[in-house]
Amino acid sequence: MRNFKDILKIADSPFKSRLLLGTGKFGSPSEMQSAIVESETEMVTVALKRVDSRKKEDDLLTYINRDRVRLLPNTSGARTAKEAVFAAKLAREALETNWLKLEIHPDPKYLMPDPIETLKATEELVKEGFIVLPYIHADPVLCKRLEEVGTAAVMPLGSPIGTNKGLKSATFLEIIIEQSTVPVIVDAGIGSPSHAAEAMEMGADAVLVNTAIAVANHPPEMAEAFKLAVIAGRLAYESGLGPKGNTAEASSPLTGFLND
């Protein structure tokens, strides 16, 4: 794997890969497994509700090599802070990790995160010793508020989950990246490798991708494409992109006469 100038650290844990993968929506667990391998990711999200903690060995988890990949359980399905905190504790017990992707979406249609409940739950979970990565709107003020209560990272959305629409929230993501003291992981809406590269070029610390890989015709190859895009985007960011201009600079129609 490519080494970047700056290594990504979340809660003091180093990550070489800046690509996180979601494990839902795949056509088969073995396809998911190959995608994880090809992406070279070091952290994958797993929905607690999909894990059968009553079984000794859950089917889904047997496909994830936990020596190489950190599990990031999510609270998908929770509608309130109370439900999310409860789910987090179940996840900690079932998956033996205090890392948590906090997802609270009372709206099952667009899965829009509830900012009020998310802030409440983050505060409580941090006190309980969790390493919390909350899924949120691209809301710069909320990000600062989350930092104040001890969030380990922020995960603002590019566009609604599963829509593959790319960085519709780009203007706000830029502000968040500019102001943040914790890693910014762009989550949701990244539909193609070019979107991922765009987020990385912007200065995001990492991206999380699920649908675009899971429902591709060839998920492992698509996972590799995303890996490369994330590397390209990060390299470009670290190398310093040239400034963007709105007009061509070849001539100076208004002031050229001064040189004559």
Binding site: G24, K25, F26, R50, K82, F86, P106, P108, K109
Partner: protein, 370 residues
């Protein structure tokens, strides 16, 4: 109480039917070209004019279903807990006047059924009953849910309409979804098929999803019994209902089922059977209109149809179903509500789902206790 009834009363069946059948080729094309489709587009997609565009509809349906749900099919099993029923529904095997032995599962029998379903791999269960309010009521359901939640990660119920307080109680006990089908939105036709019993009250049934929504249940299931009235008009009405519910009870998810009427012994129904082609049109039309709806297909349908439906837009399926109380532990299929067409085992169904490139999902919920 504010409910769908007020909105329903402003509609006219014949007017809606005329509008659906008046849709032209251009309306269908416009609906197909759009990214977001409204109820007018749904009219076009449900109309006979859309029939020649079935393949195109199916391809769009597959694409948007995969985007929203991934390549997954949720598996569940119905558990019939009682066939006692005081309603007369002329098309149903449980109908009050049918001379069949009646049975309600005891606690011990519930556990027996549960352990068999668990062994078959199920984690999601749907409790089904007739309507016998003296014996199979909220007390019975509460006990059953309390017992079954030790076995299952997700419990749904499809029983008689209850009160808001009763739904609240079930919600607290961990019930995830409640299914109540209106059967038909045609008031007069409804009357002829449901002449006696509490179910004869059309309005009470129509306002049931409002009570479920107010009680904060996670998922509400709707459906019409296809073949009682004109299926196109009925399905549009069901969409009107869904549209209202989604806007009003926005914290809940919604699911739809597509039970088709078929002629069978002992039932009084001479309607026209909806064709496979029409059912595919209906499934795809709903999906194109509403990308987030869970669409469910039961074992009433044939093997061939179900195998193909996997990649059409359906998101959940039952498998190996028994429609008689105690059916999983009993030796013979007796006392059943309707006969099923797809008799394959859950394991076989799961294999077929995998062979189509989809992941059979056995668990996708966790009952949270505080």
């Amino acid at each position: 109480m504010n409910s769908f009834l007020q909105q329903f009363q402003k509609t006219d069946w014949l007017d809606i039917q005329r509008r659906i059948y008046g849709q032209g080729n251009i309306d269908v094309k416009r609906a197909l070209a759009k990214k977001k489709r409204d109820l007018t587009d749904l009219m076009a997609l449900l109309s006979p004019e859309a029939m020649p565009y079935l393949e195109e509809m199916a391809q769009i349906s597959q694409k948007i279903t995969q985007e929203r749900f991934g390549k997954t099919i949720q598996l569940f099993a119905p558990m019939y807990v009682s066939n006692e029923c005081q309603n007369i529904c002329t098309y149903c095997g449980f109908s009050f006047t049918n001379q069949i032995p009646r049975k309600t599962l005891t606690e011990e029998e519930l556990l027996q059924e549960a352990s068999i379903l668990k062994k078959l791999g199920f984690n999601h269960v749907l409790i089904v009953s007739g309507e016998a309010n003296y014996t199979v009521n909220i007390n019975y359901f509460s006990k059953a849910v309390a017992l079954l939640r030790k076995y299952f990660a997700n419990i749904s119920i499809e029983v008689q309409p209850l009160s808001q307080e009763e739904y609240q109680k079930l919600n607290l006990l961990g019930v995830h979804s409640v299914l109540v089908y209106q059967e038909t939105y045609h008031r007069e036709i409804y009357k002829t098929y449901h002449p006696k019993g509490k179910k004869a009250n059309f309005d009470y049934r129509l306002t049931t999803p409002d009570r479920i929504g107010k009680a904060g249940i996670h998922k509400i299931g709707l459906g019409v019994l296809l073949g009682l009235a004109d299926w196109r008009t009925d399905s549009l009405y069901c969409a009107l209902h869904l549209d209202y519910l989604q806007k009003t009870y926005w914290r809940s998810k919604y699911s739809l089922s597509f039970p088709r009427m078929r002629p069978a012994e002992g039932i009084d129904w001479q309607g026209k059977v909806m064709s496979d082609r029409e059912l595919v049109q209906l499934i795809c039309a709903y999906r194109l209109w509403n990308p987030d709806l869970e669409l469910s297909l039961s074992t009433r349908e044939s093997e061939v149809f179900r195998d193909h439906a996997i990649s059409l837009g359906v998101t959940s399926m039952s498998a190996g179903s028994k429609t008689n109380p105690g059916g999983y532990s009993a030796e013979e299929d007796s006392l059943e509500q309707f006969s099923i067409d797809d008799n394959r085992s859950p394991k076989q169904i799961s294999k077929i789902i995998s062979s189509k490139g989809y992941d059979p999902v056995w668990k996708d919920w966790e009952i949270l206790e505080y």
